[in-house]
Symmetry: C2
Subunit: 333 residues, 2 copies
DNA sequence: AACCACGTTCGAAGCGCTTCGATTCAATTC
DNA sequence: GAATTGAATCGAAGCGCTTCGAACGTGGTT
């Protein structure tokens, strides 16, 4: 193993000079800087992370708590993870993978041992049992999601209430008077998943305000469940003409089933949804949608956490405003 | 921060004694061991990972290279990841998340800096460009997947050739004389994805040996592609009575489409597939299948890599034998 | 009574790096 | 020309832990 000492010797300078060349924390003349860099390249020097962490009291690692079992939404979770890792690397940080399943305490363990400098927690729910423990973690923590009680914690999420309002409003603007929300399976609501509840309340608020007829349907995945759900949604008594879908897993089967019933989108039924842009665009019928900006949320989470490393910043709640993209799946009535 | 020194003082022993209590590398009397453990608990001591890594030359971290963009198969990738993390934690290792997309060199960087003691690489392809670089990594490396040239590297995978043989054989045993393989989308084959090619060759070997009529169809995801593919597969000239499906994404649409065509499984058509057990079981028609033992493969990968940490073990290729579960989706003709 | 062996425990030397004065030397200033 | 400044560099003291050899009983042998 090549050490900083050998580099120093090779370049004819002291260890500290090499260190300062690497960190840029003190000014070094161009000449020696170049000489040191050449030695580093020539010897193939790589700083030892453990020694660095020990001496500087910074690991340059962020811990990321990921829900690895959550059967649903794996693809979207990976988008988050992938953007978080990429942005962290941009800042010269690495990512330590922690799982939600391993329980709380993992974040605390990793920080107490100085294995990481900060923590990002994904998939935080309304009454997340991890939240109290996270308050005691002695390092910057950013939550992706919004627990009900987020006092003293930094949170980041899409503004789902606004998304619910926007989607209902979009249909209302086009003259729809009776619309339906097709949501996640019942367990998601029972679990008190914050984003589902917030979207629902935004949706209901808007439909009430606009005086629309609105029905809400919790729909499980699977073709039969979807078909059954549609029977209900499309019952003649309702006169439903517009659908807001907040359940990514159901989109494919839903459109297929509509086709089977010879219902045209948007001719017979307008559909608007919340899902990643590329998913919305790749469906058999491209759907007007509000994007889940996973990339952006991941990036912001990293920025937030890193911003909190040096200075003491106050906890902050950031809700991203939803962006609606029109793909022509909603018609004027 | 509580240090080992403070624990030693609190317990009235020397630092080294505390260290030996923790590591168990020398015998310590029951009495002092208990005393030290009480002090550790009382003070809330957590060993500093950096200091430990520096002194012991072991980070107790394994690097895991994950394909985070691979749009397909995210759920199954997460199964691997999840079992790897869990098993690693069982051995008191943490997992550093590296992405395939960040390029090769990541493994090398992490090892050169002593951030990790070993590397597990997922999703290795036939002619994987990472393979040469991985040979130069100065630490145990285990590949999940089998590159063509795996000289000097340890690999672990399902025996896909055998899976292909078994599935063809299963249908042949039941009297089918003309069968079809529905495989992955063309890009997967073009990329030279090792497992697809191996399954194909096993399938073809067995059908040839048994004198069956066999057709092979590369099928893209999406309902229309599936329907088109079925037109081809079920062309009357072929007389196809059995289907081997090696494309998880296509299973749902496929069964749906068969139902739409009023073809009964297994009455009119026998279907057998390769996918995770729970996926096969959760389909509208439960399918007889060969499992992708993600849990087990992940666990073995961890064991292999850890086994190679202490001693010098020779590189090893391990192919897990496929397990077929009969769910009654294949009939005797 | 001197000796040995063994189970326990201690002390100190690093591990490779960062960082804080201290030092040097040349360029400015009065 | 002495004093002041500031940029560039050095030296050494840790950071918190592991580990090796040494030391210290204690009990059993001769």
């Amino acid at each position: 193993m090549i050490t900083i000492k050998e580099v120093a010797h090779h370049a004819g300078v002291s260890m500290s000079t090499v260190s300062y060349v690497l960190s840029g924390k003190r000014s070094i003349s161009e000449a020696t800087k170049r000489r040191v860099e050449q030695s580093i390249a020539a010897l193939g020097y790589h700083p030892n992370a453990g020694a660095r962490a020990l001496a500087s009291n910074r690991s340059r690692v962020v811990g990321l708590v990921v829900p690895l079992h959550s059967d649903q939404n794996m693809p979207i979770i990976m988008r988050f993870v992938s953007s978080i890792v990429a942005r962290a690397r941009d800042h010269d940080y690495d990512v330590l993978l922690l799982t939600k399943e391993a329980g709380p305490g993992e974040a605390h363990r990793v920080i107490a041992r100085s294995m990481a400098d900060a923590i990002i927690v994904m998939d935080v729910e309304s009454a997340d049992p991890r939240v109290p423990e996270l308050r005691d973690v002695d390092a910057p923590v950013v939550l992706l999601g919004m627990p009900d009680d987020h006092e003293g914690l930094s949170c980041l999420d899409l503004d789902f209430a606004s998304a619910g309002r926007q989607m209902a409003g979009h249909l209302a603007d086009r003259g729809h008077r009776s619309i339906a929300l097709i949501g996640s399976p019942p367990p998601v609501y029972q679990r008190g998943t914050s984003f589902a509840a917030r979207l629902l309340s935004g949706f209901q608020g808007e439909t009430a305000k606009r005086g629309l007829l609105a029905s809400v349907h919790s729909c499980a995945a699977g073709y039969d469940a979807v078909s059954e759900c549609l029977d209900d949604v499309l019952h003649p008594d309702r006169g439903t003409t517009g659908l807001v879908v907040h359940n990514e897993a159901v989109l494919g089967p839903l459109l297929l089933e509509l086709r089977r019933r010879s219902l045209d989108v948007p001719g017979d039924l307008s559909v608007i949804t919340l899902c990643p842009d590329d998913v919305a665009a790749a469906l058999p019928v491209p759907l007007t949608s509000i994007a889940v900006p996973a990339q952006e949320l991941g990036a912001i989470a990293v920025e937030m956490v890193i911003a909190r490393l040096g200075r003491e910043l106050a906890p902050e709640v950031r809700l991203l405003q939803p962006q609606l993209t029109d793909r022509g799946s909603t018609a004027v009535r």
